[in-house]
Subunit: 197 residues, 2 copies
DNA sequence: CCTACCGATCGGTAGG
DNA sequence: CCTACCGATCGGTAGG
């Protein structure tokens, strides 16, 4: 039962995860060695294994945490918001805020999830689907209330593609806030979805 | 001078590149070993080096070729087309055709370009920028001729994000042709860019 | 294209 | 958390 110690959430383990997140986001999961992580922690590589059970465990922890955070933020942002357009706006803002707040972890989430084993990968996909369904539902609702007019799948595809690609173009340099960017983005996309009539 | 032999474009070398493309697209660059490539060619791993000079050379060849192909197809597709909207339509169709025709190589292009060394990476970025500029120019032209009304950067961002993310959602399963998908996509995005007046 | 091998490095473990 | 190490595997080379 001693291996359970490695799974508990201790401050030292959190350090490890944060250091690993930075490294993996910079040079990739495969190129990040357990020795690099240990070096930055100021310990020997063998000592890592009193905090973790394997290298993949670290990756899984990082990615799962991002998936959860995306979902939690989305839930909080849309709490009590019923208008479909306002829901979409809140979801987009929340998404961009997440990128702003946790850029390295978000990069790992998008770039490295394929490196997980099959079971872990399946869980991440499940969470991502649940997250994206929030967007799809808001768009479908918008169409039902006759505010939008378009293939809901197509509209969701355009919006989610733009958001999923956002780590490549959205730099939180202080010039534009997540709120402003989300509003600009939705101005174009919603106008495209609105019925002409 | 003997190492030059490894750089020439021979049928055997083309086999190697194709096999490597499939492997890398399936399991990633790092996980693909020179021994796996050699196995699929039916030779020993050491013998690979009469065709290539290094593993990264293979990756660079694959990615550079995709970047070139994207550009060539775009040039051909827009030859003599002057209307901005028609140019955009041709560019989108060409992009989706490329994904349909060369999916594994395209995946390597999008997923693995960061694994290249700095110099090679810079060249790939240069070509990608040139490719994307074709889209940006068409949108800017559309705005200048008063057909579109929006921040050209924003419109290009939405369109290019959707296209760059397309390997994740566009499956050429025979149901929808690149032409049909491009038209549907542009219907939403262009409507979003069109001025209300 | 093969045999035979290289130095380096990898993730991970045993036993303090 | 350390020392000391493990078997495995990596990309690549020499010399046919």
């Amino acid at each position: 039962m001693r291996s359970e110690r490695g799974q508990r959430d201790t401050p030292r383990r959190r350090d490890l995860i944060e250091i690993a997140t930075d490294l993996i986001s910079e040079i990739g999961y495969e190129q990040t060695t357990v020795r690099m992580i240990a070096d930055r922690m100021g310990i020997k590589s063998g000592s890592l294994y009193s905090h973790i059970s394997s290298k993949e465990d670290v990756l899984y922890k990082i990615i799962l945490d991002v998936a959860d955070d995306f979902l939690e933020r989305a839930d909080r942002a849309t709490e009590g918001v019923h208008d479909p357009e306002e829901r979409l706006r809140a979801l987009c803002r929340s998404h961009l805020e997440m990128i702003r707040d946790r850029r390295p972890a978000v990069r790992v989430y998008f770039d490295e999830w394929r490196k997980l084993g099959d079971a872990n990968q399946a869980e991440v996909i499940r969470l991502r689907e649940r997250y994206e369904d929030g967007f799809r539902l808001a768009i479908a609702d918008g169409i039902e209330t006759k505010a939008f007019d378009a293939d809901p799948q197509l509209g969701a595809r355009v919006l989610l593609s733009t958001l999923n690609w956002a780590p490549s173009w959205y730099v939180a340099d202080g010039k534009l806030s997540p709120r402003e960017v989300a509003d600009q983005l939705l101005e174009v996309i919603l106008r495209g979805l609105y019925t002409r009539g």
